[in-house]
């Protein structure tokens, strides 16, 4: 199999290569692996190079496996990482994810990949200590390949089509596995599945003192809603992701709470009084159902997500008394795809466990 893309000849030094790619706006500013034909073919692993996964906004260029493979090579991926990338891109092209909005908004949203299943462990996707941070090749390079694809295929360059006012470090790379062994409630999604979630960078939940589920979850709920958060203004597509550290998860489970109880607790408590909401944020531009628009009592506490199932709950991280909340951008919904290992194609997954629709 040969590739259809034009080739670029560059002096064979890392410095010249980086300069050539930076000059053309083809990378994120960090050094890349040269996407030679040999490497791209190895990344494809027999997948049909030219088949389109669909047009990718905002410039609506075709997302072909070949184009994704070029970016995966540049990011430093190994070929076994590629099926996760294909499944994630297919999930992002689902209209429910609203990739156009995610790519072009002024909000600092980035697609977070949450990977479940044995394949994640096989390829070294990290779910333990420091999983949102540096040091783990699979997490770093798969997340980077997604970002490079969003820029080079979708055309979302910062300040040109990606209109994020400040952007986010999460836009460099944003990919974790769930720590399924440490979860008292089973995985977010069964099997080899990637879930994409349009979120802000993680907001830390520090709780070294609570010894009860109520204590920890009150802290989680308090972190989840602030006047400056996007979540809740466009209610129908607002979601919250709660990433519980294993120790917090165990404390919560020891009090007898299941995943649905955690979702209900956060749904009920992650709220602000109407009088506070009137002080700023997007007051006046909210898209709420009629019963919420009719509220007049400043002490009323309207929900910030449509239903308890819109609080996604996963377990990740290592030892310590920290968790995190990842608010979404409020105009995108989480989407899951099964990771197909033959031919690098993805198929629709059941929605995540926490979204039974």
């Amino acid at each position: 199999m040969a590739l259809s893309a034009p080739t670029l000849e560059v002096e064979d030094t890392p410095e010249a290569l980086l300069e050539a790619f930076v000059e053309r706006g083809w990378c994120d500013g960090l050094p890349i692996v040269p996407p030679t034909e040999e490497r791209v073919l190895a990344m494809l692993g027999g997948a049909a190079a030219a088949r389109s996964l669909g047009p990718m906004p905002p410039l609506w260029r075709e997302a072909s496996p070949q184009a994704l493979a070029v970016n995966a090579v540049m990011a430093g991926c190994r070929p076994e990482h590629f099926p996760v990338i294909v499944a994630a891109i297919e999930a992002m092209l689902d209209p429910a994810f609203n990739l156009y909005g995610v790519q072009a908004t002024t909000h600092p949203v980035a697609p977070l990949l949450i990977v479940n299943g044995p394949y994640a462990r096989e390829i070294g996707l990290h779910a333990g200590s420091g999983c949102f941070g540096p040091g783990f090749r699979a997490n770093a390079t798969i997340g980077r390949a997604i970002r490079l694809s969003l820029m080079n295929v979708g055309g979302a360059w910062p300040g040109r089509h990606d209109m994020a006012t400040q952007g986010s470090p999460a836009k460099f790379s944003y990919c974790i596995a769930e720590n399924e062994e440490a979860s008292p409630w089973g995985p977010l999604a069964e099997g080899d599945v990637v879930t994409v979630y349009g979120g802000e960078a993680p907001h830390n939940v520090n709780d070294h003192v609570s010894t009860t589920a109520a204590g920890i979850l009150t802290n989680v709920a308090h972190t989840a809603v602030t006047l400056g958060s996007n979540v809740g203004w466009y209610l129908a597509q607002s979601q919250l992701l709660v990433v519980l550290g294993p120790e917090h998860a165990q404390t919560i489970a020891a009090d007898g709470l299941g995943r649905a109880d955690v979702q209900r607790f956060v749904y009920e408590h992650a709220r602000l009084p109407l009088g506070t909401l009137k002080l700023g944020g997007m007051w006046g531009a909210q898209d709420w159902p009629p019963w919420m628009m009719a509220l007049r009592d400043d002490d009323a506490r309207p929900p910030r997500v449509p239903a308890p199932e819109d609080v996604l709950v996963v377990v990740a991280g290592g030892a310590g008394k920290h968790s995190s909340v990842v608010p979404n951008c409020c105009f995108s919904r989480a989407v899951s795809r099964v990771i197909r290992l033959e031919g690098a194609e993805a198929t629709p997954s059941r929605p995540p466990r926490s979204r039974e629709v």
Partner: protein, 47 residues
Amino acid sequence: MRQLAARGVTGLPLLVVEHPLGGERPEAIVRRAQQAIEQLVSLLGNH
């Protein structure tokens, strides 16, 4: 323009409303609306 080309509608007339709108006072919004109407009339007149 590149988005229009990719969607096969390069000749689609565009009505451009200057950013930002958020945080503007009502009188400024009214001024933008008036400018938009003028643009719209012009665009319709040319097609």
